[in-house]
Amino acid sequence: MSLVLNEEQVMLKDSARDFLQSRAPVSHLRELRDSGSTEGFSRELWSEMADMGWPAILVPEQHGGLEYGYTGMGILLEESGRTLTPSPLLSTALICTAAIVKAGSDNQCETILPAVAAGEHLLALACDESSQHAPACTATDAVKDGDVFRLNGRKTSVVDGHFADTFIVSARTNKGISLFLVPSSAKGIQVEAYPVLDTHFAANVQFDQVELGEKDLLGPLDGGQSILDYILDVGCVGVSAELLGLAQEAFERTIEYLKERKQFGVPIGSFQALQHRAAHLFGEIEMCKSLVIKALSTLDESTDSDAELVSLTKAKLSETAHLAATEAIQMHGGIGMTDEFDIGFFLKRCQILESLFGDNYFHFDRFARQRGY
């Protein structure tokens, strides 16, 4: 395994960067916010992404996809972290697609994946139930009643939950956890959307006596926990890739500012107090690059996820991106505190991504447990 991108991957990265920088730079996010968008993303942009095959990256060729792997998806997420571009890439194209590819029945794959690849079907993972990420504590249940399951419970902080066509829902069944594919149009579902601090939207989703069949099971009955663990790991790596792009962009903008901004008649970047902090941050970001590429290629090369590697990656990326975003504001000084200037958007998005699928403390704990302490 080499920890550098190959030529083809570099080309994907370059073209993704070109597209995002020209079509959906940070000003795109600002426009969405200022125009009062209630979806928090642009469907028009998503269809352009679909034309380029982005939602098809993880989809197997037989279902109309590109089968290009996690590293390819990570590249797109990293680049959209640079531009803070809201899109269904993370939830639909990465996490939920990975779940269906891994555990879906032939029928589920045939019905959903081609539509996903075409950008016409959107998904959301509904697993959290409280203010803390605790995937091992699921209270939502699906009770067998004759031929059907009746799903009851409340899921919170469902990313993209306000526009998803289908939810992947974790629920307690007779002897364990099961995953279900639940159409958002099903009877008994109430979606309550709300904006979060980075101008994206999330939703709380209430399930009341939602009727499901065997065919809606994603993976085996009572065997959902390991699939859930896997896709949460996939999600963590995806979030880490996005955090990497975000950290790099915030850092590079800050370095440029240090070179331009003059006080006391000299660029503030000539002050050692700032140089040392910038140099330290540079090192931390270099460490993060190694983690992300290692975590992505490890997903590509094995069928299971490496929990220790995933948790250390998510923890380190969360901390480093947070440092990059907060240092960015401090080093920009007063202007960094203004809404008019873009740098504050990086901190907002960062805070969301950090808490998604477990913050640094969650992953320190998980990392330590994996290592036997």
Binding site: S2, L3, V4, I255, L258, K259, V266, P267, G269, S270, F271, Q272, L274, Q275, H276, A278, A279, H280, F282, G283, E286, M287, C288, K289, S290, L291, I293, K294, L312, A315, K316, Y361, F364, D365, F367, A368, R369, R371, G372, Y373
Partner: protein
């Protein structure tokens, strides 16, 4: 089977037969490390055999050309060899500043005669080298060094003193920075020379550290003769060589951030000393810091690996050695801070058998020098800020 796979198998088979069992265990104390040199005394037959066998394969310096005592391995093969050595926890057969510091500039800038004279003897561990860089008044501002070399035609006569010479009292030869032009700007009047430390006028004096140990000496030169054919590169262009060597030295020091093969991970030491409750380390505050440390340890390891892969792929991280030096030494210092906390009162014992003669507090104190030697952390951050980030001033 790919070419790499078959090479790996070949290495594995050879090591299985040739690496003695006792060389697959962590050092019991630092005197068990083999540094070679004229006065080398092997503490066991296994240690001697291990060195000789590795020398015969050219694997003390695997990437050096065969004619200079290496094995001519490419980077991929060298990586495999390293991995296989690590897999069986093999000790390095030879610790050597000749290999880690002098070798690279000698290969790049040395004359054919210099290479033939020095490289094979470095590879075989026959000559132990010392570094003559810092002076009492030239520390972070290394280029202001004042050791004086007067041109006598075919040789120089050198006078002055060096400080922080690692194991200066045990070394056979020294590579050294001297001033050969006293009028030129400070970076332009330095030459890089080599001499035998048994030459007349060379003396050393140990420096006792806060750890109670003396791994460094002061080194004095009084009218010492240095031949002109022992200058690497051009006269007065020694700074070029010095910087090139420093980047290798810093990479070597960075490696200290990764726990050496065979040593217990910090978390395992903590489990042994403190115990667990329900599978969780008893001291939960310390647990978080240990997790943070072990995460950073892995980060450094992967980033060194990535840097090697990037060199292979032809993209280079540039002044990365400074970043690695900074990161690696800060990490090693954190390691010993944690080990001191884990050790508690036991880690305060200075002498006596059960404390391995104060191994822990002495190592902890020694690590305080990590962020000073080879260029301080602050100097490394300056270099990153200016050369990589392009910040002004």
């Amino acid at each position: 089977m790919t070419q790499s796979d078959s090479f790996r198998q070949e290495v594995r088979d050879w090591l299985e037969i040739n690496c003695p069992e006792s060389m697959r265990r962590p050092y019991r104390n630092e005197t068990e490390a083999c540094w070679g040199g004229r006065n080398c005394v092997f503490y066991s037959e296994d240690q001697k055999n291990w060195l000789e066998r590795m020398v015969s394969k050219g694997w003390t310096v695997p990437t050096w050309p065969k004619e200079y005592g290496g094995a001519g391995l490419d980077r991929e093969q060298a990586k495999i060899l390293k991995e296989e050595l690590r897999r069986i926890n093999a000790r390095p057969p030879l610790e050597s500043f000749g290999i880690s510091m002098l070798g690279p500039p000698l290969l790049k800038y040395g004359t054919e005669a210099q290479k033939q004279q020095h490289l094979p003897r470095i590879a075989r561990g026959e000559i132990r080298w010392a570094q003559g860089y810092s002076e009492p008044n030239a520390g972070s501002d290394l280029a202001s060094l004042q050791m004086r070399a007067d041109d006598m035609g075919d040789h120089f006569i050198v006078n002055g003193s060096k400080v922080w010479t690692s194991y200066g009292d045990l070394a056979d030869w020294m590579f050294c920075l001297v001033r050969t032009d006293f009028e030129a700007p400070k970076h332009k009047g330095i030459s890089f020379v080599m001499f035998d430390m048994t030459n007349e006028g060379v003396s050393t004096r140990p420096i006792k550290l806060i750890s109670g140990k003396s791994p460094f000496t002061e080194t004095f030169l009084e009218n010492t003769r240095v031949e002109k054919d022992q200058v690497i590169g051009e006269i007065n262009d020694g700074w070029t060589i010095a910087k090139y060597l420093l980047s290798h030295e810093r990479e070597m020091i960075a490696g200290s951030g990764i726990s050496a093969s065979g040593t217990l991970p910090v978390s395992q030491s903590a489990i042994k000393a403190l115990g667990t409750e329900n599978g969780i380390l008893s001291n939960t505050m310390l647990r978080t810091d240990i997790a943070r440390f072990e995460i950073d340890e892995r980060c450094l390891e992967l980033t060194i690996e990535r840097a090697r892969d990037e060199v292979k792929a032809g993209v280079s991280l540039g002044a990365a050695a400074s970043m690695f030096k900074y990161y690696g030494t800060e990490l090693n210092m954190r390691r010993y801070e944690l080990l001191m906390s884990i050790g508690g009162h036991d880690a305060l014992v200075w002498e006596g058998g059960h404390s391995r003669d104060g191994y822990m507090p002495k190592m902890w104190l020694r690590t305080k020098g990590n962020s000073i030697e080879g260029g301080t952390s602050e100097i490394q951050l300056n270099i990153v800020a200016k050369r990589i980030l392009g910040l002004p001033g």
